[in-house]
């Protein structure tokens, strides 16, 4: 008889095998590669482990420093995106009514336009002969085109926030939709003003969604490399660019692996600390 217990294996094995093969195994291999001396010979071989790559990374202080900067950039982007996305999620959950579904998809449809091209379009808008500058020059609000909008770290952060806001709205929306509306009535019955109701009922209940949104933006942004390539200029490179360069421009997989491992361990440590501070179990239960 197919009871709950025996259905267990059907539910358990596929995800486990998938994650084991395509998540754990690759990361383990990458760890192994970080202890490899060079690229000579067959890719698949037993090599004598060496700390040479890590020593090389440590000796180059600028790599580690760049990792710290990338984390700070990610923090700023995540906080901004989450904060700016919250009103969107709130609007969709409580104000959009019957049209909520349509509005939601309207929010997501730009994702089905190529991200690369949208960023190129921002370049057109922010460039020194772009839309924004020609508009401001025309209105004579400025004398010379603003060059600070593009090809630097600020441009990277702005672009990332712009890209992430719609996506950050999703977990917040999911959390808001779970709130039992009876709680609002109860709050109203107890005499709460709309603001108090929001602050004491809505916001705390949506917190798991907010945290989910924050991490959903923060983690990928630490390793972000595409946006810096497009709008970062010479100084906007982030840690991910260095890793990418070692894999695609330098064919130096051992060093690239070592750099990746350092970022991975750093990110894991950060999240472990954050999980201590915020009990993640509340998210699941």
């Amino acid at each position: 008889m197919l009871d709950r217990r025996s259905t267990f294996w059907i539910l358990y094995l596929p995800p486990l095998l998938w994650l084991g093969a395509f998540f754990l195994a690759p990361l383990g291999l990458m760890a192994a590669f970080s202890f490899r001396a060079d690229m000579r010979g067959d890719l698949l071989q037993i090599w004598t482990p060496t700390l040479a790559q890590y020593a090389s990374v440590w000796a180059t202080g600028s790599y580690v420093r760049l990792l710290g900067i990338s984390a700070l950039v990610a923090l700023a982007v995540a906080v901004s995106a989450t904060a700016l996305a919250y009103p969107i999620a709130y609007f969709l959950a409580f104000r959009a009514g019957k049209r909520a579904g349509l509005y939601l998809v309207l929010l997501l449809v730009p994702f089905w336009t190529s991200y690369l091209l949208r960023v190129m379009a921002w370049k057109i808008m922010l460039g020194s002969e772009g839309v924004l500058n020609s508009f401001l020059l025309y209105l004579q609000l400025i004398d010379n085109p603003l060059t600070a909008l593009l090809y630097n770290r600020n441009a990277v952060m702005l672009t990332l926030v712009y890209v992430w806001i719609p996506f950050a709205a999703l977990p917040i929306l999911a959390a808001l939709q779970r709130i039992d509306l009876a709680l609002f009535e109860a709050a109203a019955d107890l005499g709460a003003t709309p603001f108090r109701r929001f602050w004491r009922v809505t916001f705390p209940l949506s917190l798991p969604g907010v945290l989910a949104a924050f991490f959903m933006v923060f983690i990928p942004t630490v390793g972000e490399y595409v946006t810096p390539l497009l709008v970062g200029g010479s100084r906007g490179s982030l840690y991910g660019n260095i890793i990418q360069d070692f894999f695609t421009k330098a064919a130096n997989w051992p060093l690239g692996s070592a750099l990746s491992m350092i970022m991975l361990v750093g990110t894991l440590a950060l999240v472990a600390v954050a999980v201590r501070l915020v009990d993640l179990r509340k998210l699941i239960e």
Partner: protein, 259 residues
């Protein structure tokens, strides 16, 4: 449900943001009609040439098709696997439960570039050629946490009594799942599927490392950035894709309203 008139501020905010989101798209649309190959003002005259050339450009269309296929496949797999783990998380107790959940959520914590590089190493070392399959596999892994979290947050509020009632009435567990649980969590699964599809379709960071002979659209686009005279065709396609999805969405909404 409250109908206080603060909403104009909120809806104003929403629509302002939508306008901002669609602004670059509007600009792209302008440039797809531009007679010049370079992306700068002033425009050199309007032409529908690029759209014509697009329809003749087999490679561009194939890349778009590849993206659709990969997104459809990986989002399906991710939703399936994510739902499985969600059910395990909420309904079962077993020793390795926390391990499995952690494992399923861990891809969220791994930056795309690290995972892309790691999978590249795996496939290269095992001499598995890169292909749409390898891209799809990676997309499934990174979409899994999203689908899991979305389905779990819906399942968490699900009344277990409904299940037990069904089983008391003689249904086995798979049937209970199929006829009681799944319909109730279906909207969450659709939301999860949509999220996973979105994650995959325009995904570039992973695809760049893992695509083989057949590129996905973003990978193809990025590679074409080398050649100026190809760019407007890409923009034309991006605009068409967007118009297409918008149309689909409007139709779907009309159908939904009619029911």
């Amino acid at each position: 449900m409250s109908t206080r008139r603060v909403p104009s501020l909120l809806s104003g905010y929403y629509f302002a943001l939508i306008a901002l989101l669609y602004l670059p798209i509007g600009i792209l649309f302008l440039f797809s009609l531009n007679a010049n190959t370079s992306l700068s003002f002033p425009l050199r005259g309007l032409t529908l040439d690029w759209y014509r050339k697009l329809l003749e450009s087999e490679a561009v269309l194939r890349a778009a098709r590849n993206s659709l296929v990969v997104a459809a496949g990986s989002s399906f797999a991710a939703t399936l696997l994510g739902t499985m783990v969600a059910l395990l998380a909420i309904r079962y107790q077993f020793r390795s439960k926390n391990l499995l959940i952690a494992l399923a959520v861990l891809p969220l914590i791994v930056p795309f570039i690290v995972l892309g590089v790691a999978l590249l190493l795996l496939f290269s070392t095992l001499h598995i050629e890169r292909s749409l399959w390898t891209v799809g596999i990676a997309h499934t892994v990174v979409a899994l946490p999203y689908t899991l979290l979305i389905v779990v947050s819906r399942l968490a509020g699900f009344d277990v009594n409904l299940e037990e009632a069904a089983m008391d009435l003689g249904a086995n567990y798979p049937t209970t799942l199929r006829r009681i649980v799944l319909p109730i969590i279906a909207p969450a699964m659709v939301s999860a599927w949509l999220t996973a599809f979105t994650v995959s379709f325009d995904e570039f960071a992973l695809a760049l490392f893992l695509a083989g002979t057949e590129p996905t659209f973003p990978v193809y686009l990025f590679s074409q950035l080398r050649f100026a005279n190809r760019l407007p065709i890409m923009i034309a396609l991006a605009v068409l894709l967007m118009i297409g999805t918008l149309t689909l969405v409007v139709i779907a909404e009309r159908v939904r309203r009619a029911e």
